[in-house]
């Protein structure tokens, strides 16, 4: 026991020295996906980088649990999807985020454990996942603030956080955009963040010029990664991949609204170069089909 105590003190001392040594480097702004660059300068910095990404990742996972009051959901298995034996989660409010999900703890009708099942449903958070309500989004918002504070390169934290700010109250558009802009400042090479800023400018503000500026920046960032030979890494990241594809889509939509059909087709065709199977881009590339 004494040895454990000494070990904790020693670890605290090493941790303190590590934080002192690492902090100046950690405060540097990192490019999205290039965030490894400052971490790689020394092994110690790399370790601290892992810690803060892990914290952000932990908080990211927690947000879903928080909105459900601690009730755990899981994806349905292929068998459950096919036979529809498990209750499918669905929202009773406008917070629709469930697709083929069910609760980890089974409902009474499906539980073969008799008494054990009844006990588990009492000691662990449990409710009928059909048409369930969510806790107020306001309770989750600090988590997005905290995870992006812990890891400023955590792009999805900014993306979903901004959506949640707006979902909480439609009047919070300015705060949502400010949150996205902070993300863009911290991740100047992110595609998804600039696409999202462009979407907000187009859909929420109706500012076509600003929207085009943001969307073009998103595509320039895409080109930057292609030129550096990292396009495959971008395509593996679902947020950046969707952001890249959506930048082409939104630019085509923008040009359609401006009645510049040639430019609409041009952007759609450019998008098809990277996303040849995208049905939306196919539609915009052939203007006669778009209504």
């Amino acid at each position: 026991m004494r040895a454990i105590g000494l070990l904790i003190i020693l670890q605290g001392f090493i941790g303190g020295v590590a934080i002192r040594y690492v902090l100046p480097v950690q405060l540097q702004r990192a490019d999205t996906l290039g965030a490894h660059t400052p971490y790689d300068r020394s092994a110690m910095v790399s370790v601290m980088g892992e810690v803060r990404s892990s914290l952000a990742g932990y908080l990211w996972v927690k947000t879903d649990e928080y909105t459900h009051g601690g009730v755990w959901l899981r994806p349905m298995t292929e068998r459950e999807k096919r036979l529809r034996t498990a209750r499918e989660a669905s929202s009773a409010d406008s917070f629709d985020t469930h697709h083929d999900e069910t609760s980890v703890i089974p409902e009474r009708e499906r539980d073969p454990r008799w008494l054990w099942g009844n006990i588990e449903r009492q000691v662990k958070p449990f409710f009928d996942v059909r048409h369930h309500f969510h806790r107020p989004v306001r309770e989750v918002l600090p988590l997005y603030r905290f995870m992006t504070w812990a890891d400023p390169t955590f792009v999805q934290g900014y993306l979903v956080g901004a959506q949640m700010i707006l979902f909480d109250n439609k009047q919070n558009l300015r705060e949502a955009i400010a949150f996205l802009k902070e993300g863009a400042r911290n991740n100047p090479r992110s595609i998804a963040l600039f696409t999202e800023l462009g979407r907000y400018a187009l859909v929420q503000l109706g500012d076509y010029a600003q929207a085009e500026s943001y969307l073009r920046q998103a595509l320039r960032n895409g080109d930057y990664w292609v030129q550096r030979g990292n396009a495959s890494i971008i395509l593996q990241n679902p947020f950046e991949r969707d952001g890249w594809r959506d930048a082409y889509r939104w630019l085509a939509i923008l040009k359609q609204r401006e009645h510049r059909i040639d430019e609409q087709c041009e952007w759609a065709r450019r998008g098809l170069h990277y996303f040849p199977d995208d049905p939306v881009l196919h539609q915009f590339a052939t203007p006669r089909k778009v209504k």
Binding site: M1, I4, G69, T77, R113, W114, V123
Partner: protein, 260 residues
């Protein structure tokens, strides 16, 4: 001259608690408390508005993990150390049966681990209160259920210490304690996906450890209403019967074991 079980337990409990203080086990708890206070101070610096659930979640998670590890470490050393230091011989030279010694050791482990848990939980409650984060009445049921769980875990670890080396015992006990929820999930998935018969499932479920059922921390964190008291009663019966069975299995081996 025979000595009653109560006398043996009382004497061993006092000696065990003195040993706990002498060995400075509580120092570990105090160090952990200091770390918790430092962590809470960080939150005070940044402000806790809106982060109440997160802070409660982290506090209860930390206490759940630390109390389980401390319980296993305390219970696992009770008998092996007596054998290693050869102090078990003067103990057994007195009019004490091996069964009484085993129960006494379980009681010592339960009291020491329970005390550590209560000290940790008390300090966490105080810190949460200072941060303006109240706990709902379900917290009382959580404490009760967790203490039952600590008693159950002590019985398992003390029994295993008769069969295994201390290192193997600690490893296996921690796997059983932290993995119990996962084992239960796997059994359920085997039933749904592979057609495991409900009778087999319940039989296996009865054998498998259910340490996770003693943990209501998630309900406390999210401010759920208190649960039905029959559940606490059922878990009490489970802890008593299952813990007694573990100690019985431990005694069956220990009574004929050649010591030293």
């Amino acid at each position: 001259m025979s000595v009653s079980l109560v006398q043996v337990c009382r004497a061993l409990a006092i000696a065990g608690l003195l040993e706990t203080i002498r060995r400075k086990d509580l120092y570990v708890v105090l160090i952990l408390m200091v770390l918790m206070v430092l962590g809470a101070s960080t939150f005070r610096a940044f402000g806790v508005r809106g982060l109440e659930i997160f802070i409660k979640d982290v506090a209860f998670l930390a206490i759940g993990v630390l109390s389980t590890v401390l319980t296993v470490l305390i219970a696992a050393r009770q008998l092996p150390e007596e054998v290693q230091r050869r102090t078990i011989y003067p103990l057994l030279a007195r009019p004490i049966t091996r069964g009484q010694l085993l129960i006494g050791k379980w009681l010592v482990a339960f009291l020491a681990a329970g005390l550590c848990f209560l000290v940790l939980m008390g300090s966490a409650w105080l810190l949460l209160w200072m941060l303006g984060i109240p706990l709902k009445p379900i917290f009382g049921q959580y404490l009760l259920l967790k203490l039952m769980g600590i008693g159950w875990l002590c019985a398992l670890v003390v029994a295993l210490s008769v069969y295994l080396t201390p290192a193997a015992n600690i490893t296996l006990s921690l796997i059983l304690a932290f993995g119990s929820g996962l084992f239960n999930r796997l059994l359920l998935m085997a039933h749904w996906e592979r057609g495991l018969d409900a009778l087999w499932l319940n039989w296996l479920f009865g054998i498998m450890p259910h340490y996770d059922f003693f943990d209501m921390s998630q309900k406390v964190v999210y401010d759920w209403a208190p649960i039905a008291w029959w559940v606490i009663g059922a878990m009490g019966i489970y802890a008593l019967t299952s813990g007694s069975l573990y100690l019985l299995l431990g005694w069956l081996r220990f009574r004929k074991q050649v010591l030293g």
